[in-house]
Symmetry: C2
Subunit: 262 residues, 2 copies
């Protein structure tokens, strides 16, 4: 192994999407230099390079010699393939994927995982300070370097193996993507009835914040929780022109009802 | 009509559950006297009376003469029946239900609706200031009195008829009760794998807050949004011992996928 230092001084990115961008902001704010970015999407890559005052690479392996961390922030399905295109040059390679096992990087000598458990969207600023960052690494020394880096970004850092990380990722999809789908579905129904989505925002916020103080099992309210079949039937009737939504309503109401009323 | 004044000086409650309690806190803080409570649940009723320093009634119609607003905060299905037990004595009767039409109170001369669009749980303090309060009333003068009262509690007050209110209620169930069900489901999966629900809290909060800045359609992330079938299949495989959850996962992923990828 070459190029091992005790801390990360400069990082390179492969990928220039939402995860790469938000992570680069946090890393740069923590005082780590962003050396360069490689991305097949040239316009994204150049925008990224401009934002972080770094180079946009023509080739995978043009990172500086003293850039000791390469962050592969590409779609889950591409991690392994992309990693194989990178030289095994003593740098530490990490991916940022929840579902992808650490072994997907074992074409390299030194590898690990730097998984921020969060939803990243363009145009939405993020405070990394409380975001859980899940670390894994082949070697103890690299693990420590990644822990040190993560702790510069967040107070919520832990070592999580690939088996547990994929459970976190699965549940993250459920609470984030699926909840957001419910928000979108509600927005569509409101729109069809000339009502504004703003009506629901305080409720959405309160529902999410309530879990800080009340377990989701105790926090549940509403017709299914009360076993109020008359209201459930009225709602189902209101959704009769939207079989997809009616189906979700029926499924959720039945699951909630069963949980509390057997 | 008797007993009409231009503003509400004292309110009585029928019902002593979560909605009644949270609303009574806000009303009392706004300087309105709570006269009394009637509830068939005597221990709830007495706890309520103690909390608000008011009387717990033995009979439905023992409210003071100068109590000019009676708030019927009982389960949706019971509103009409409960209202019929109350004397038509010139007081203004309102219910707090989303799904229940205003006409359910037409056994009385003066009636209306005071619907706070929020999820109310025991042990979770609420700030009413931004909660949407939807007002409806048979008479213009009563409507104005209810608007004046609501504006003492919240900056987010509007007149909403029964048809639109039931749409708001339907979508409230979808974004709140169903999202909370997803939180609970995730908590169960984490628990089975020795992982703590705390991991997901920052993500749940961010997902809910993101809609302030980004429309839910643009805020969507994750495998279904990306049409990443390999990750979806891995997640479905992980849920094979939980057919109920697997079913939700499949349904949501397919609906999200279709929305973005046809």
């Amino acid at each position: 192994m070459t190029n091992i230092t005790k801390h990360i001084s400069s990082a390179g990115f492969v990928g220039s999407g939402n995860v790469a961008t938000h992570l680069a902001i946090a890393i740069q704010e923590a005082g780590i230099k962003i050396d360069a970015v490689f991305s097949p999407n040239k316009s994204n890559s150049e925008a990224f390079a401009k934002e972080f005052n770094c180079r946009s690479l023509e080739y995978y392996n043009d990172f500086e010699y003293d850039t000791n961390l390469i962050i592969i922030a590409v779609p889950d399905a591409k991690v392994e393939k992309v990693c194989k295109k990178l030289d095994d040059n003593g740098k530490l390679y990490v991916h940022t994927s929840g579902i992808t096992p650490i072994e997907s990087l074992n074409s390299k000598s030194r590898f690990g995982v730097f998984y921020p458990l969060q939803t990243f969207s363009k145009g939405k600023e993020l405070n990394f300070a409380k975001i859980p960052i899940c670390i894994e690494a082949k070697y103890g020394e690299d693990r420590q370097m990644l822990l040190d880096l993560a702790r510069k970004l967040s107070t919520n850092v832990s070592i999580v193996n690939s088996e547990k990380r994929k459970i976190l990722h699965l549940t993250a999809v459920i609470v984030s993507n699926f909840s957001n789908h419910l928000y979108h579905l509600a927005d569509e129904i409101l729109g069809l009835n000339g009502l504004d989505f703003n009506y629901l925002k305080p409720l959405i916020h309160e529902t999410a914040l309530k879990i800080n103080e009340v377990h989701p099992l105790d926090a549940q309210t509403g017709p299914a929780r009360r076993n109020d079949k008359a209201t459930i039937d009225k709602h189902l009737q209101m959704l009769k022109k939207h079989p997809d939504y009616q189906y979700i309503y029926q499924l959720f109401s039945e699951q909630i009802r069963k949980k509390y009323h057997g």
